[in-house]
Subunit: 230 residues, 2 copies
């Protein structure tokens, strides 16, 4: 199944990497930015990297979201609540994927902010008529952008409270990495998935690498609970 | 290098699995429990499972900690502060490894508790004269107990503020899984490592498996920062 996917904040590295992979897999991608011209430039940069047909355009964030079936929030934590509130009319009734990582940085490196709710839960609270799923926090942006072919040594963890939306995102993971996503539980588990990125960034720095996450011991393609609501 | 390691709460599944692996690797293990007789029984159960020489005994928690070079806290979050406070005299000057997971459970499954500090940081705050390292949160207890041979598909993440103690624990990971641990950063990253266990438990339930964690993209055996203080 092919979707029209808006990548909000798509001019950043994470949005660029995900937009690239999704467009390459045959989805129609709209790169969103505060500035429509920058979005169009980034769309052209991504388009130029893809051999063969791909539909990828750029637009201002709200217009990008309004034109999409699925909206991927790839924005910084700073300003997240304001942006989601502004986009609310365009998010209602849609599957909204959040890969937002609320991290702090100081002289000791990155760390997860101590919050009462995750970014994904905040988006869900601000737009109750959307169906928010948390995913794509951990695959390194440059890995997506620079690797030739699948990135299926990494796992994409997916959390959400709606089984159908979660299954959609688990399938989208196949487009991004070459491997179906793993059902990581309810949306509140985003509190664990989001700040884990701080650990990966620390490891990248220590080991001079682009690290990723894999879950061992998961053999089946579909979780036993698929179709259930959580 | 061989250590005498006290496993506090060693009669639980995590303590049993880690104690078994550490004893099998040639470390002297003292299983700790509130009840010395239960600790001795558990030590005997573990001893019986090991072919060849192994030194493993049981004792009351405080006595176990007092007799050890390295103390592994494998206790429930409930009562953690009281237990660590009670053990403080025996922990001073020692490397203390915390694999404590502050999780909540309700009808939707496990989740990470929202806390101002991790269990590892709490232990460090309560006993400033100890050197606390967070590790061994994610390797499934039954995997350690039931698997024949190495468990080196899983990675052991190690966080701490003292490079020497962290290196010691990264080496101990080799005894436990067959693969050196990964330096995951400063002790405060335990806030991310501890509740991540909730995600793995959710995955276990959904996929009817014993899941584990692996970090992709880390090739070197020693981090670039080894020997530095963080």
């Amino acid at each position: 199944m092919s979707y029209t996917i808006a990548v909000i904040g798509g001019t950043g590295p994470q949005g660029r990497g995900l937009g690239y992979r999704l467009a390459m897999a045959g989805h129609t991608v709209i790169i969103g930015s505060r500035d429509a011209a920058r979005a169009a430039d980034k769309a052209e940069e991504i388009r130029a990297k893809i051999d063969g047909p791909a539909t990828i355009t750029g637009d201002e964030n709200a217009a990008a979201a309004a034109g999409a079936d699925v909206v991927l929030l790839a924005v910084p934590w700073e300003g997240h609540a304001e942006l989601v509130t502004a986009l609310a009319p365009a998010l209602r009734g849609k599957t909204v994927i959040s890969c937002v990582n609320p991290l702090g940085f100081d002289e000791h490196g990155p760390y997860g902010l101590t919050l009462e709710e995750s970014a994904a839960e905040e988006a869900q609270r601000l737009v109750p008529e959307a169906t928010v799923v948390g995913s794509f926090h951990h695959v390194a942006a440059l890995t997506l952008w620079k690797t030739q072919g699948p990135v299926d040594h990494d796992d994409v963890l997916v959390c959400g409270d709606d089984a159908e939306a979660k299954a959609l995102v688990m399938d989208l993971a196949t487009a991004v990495t070459g491997k179906r996503g793993i059902d990581a539980g309810a949306l509140r588990l985003a509190r664990q998935l989001e700040p884990l990125t701080a650990v990966l960034i620390n490891i990248n720095k220590k080991y001079k690498t682009r690290s990723g996450l894999a879950i061992t011991g998961v053999k089946e393609l579909a979780p036993s609970g698929i179709g259930e609501t959580v």
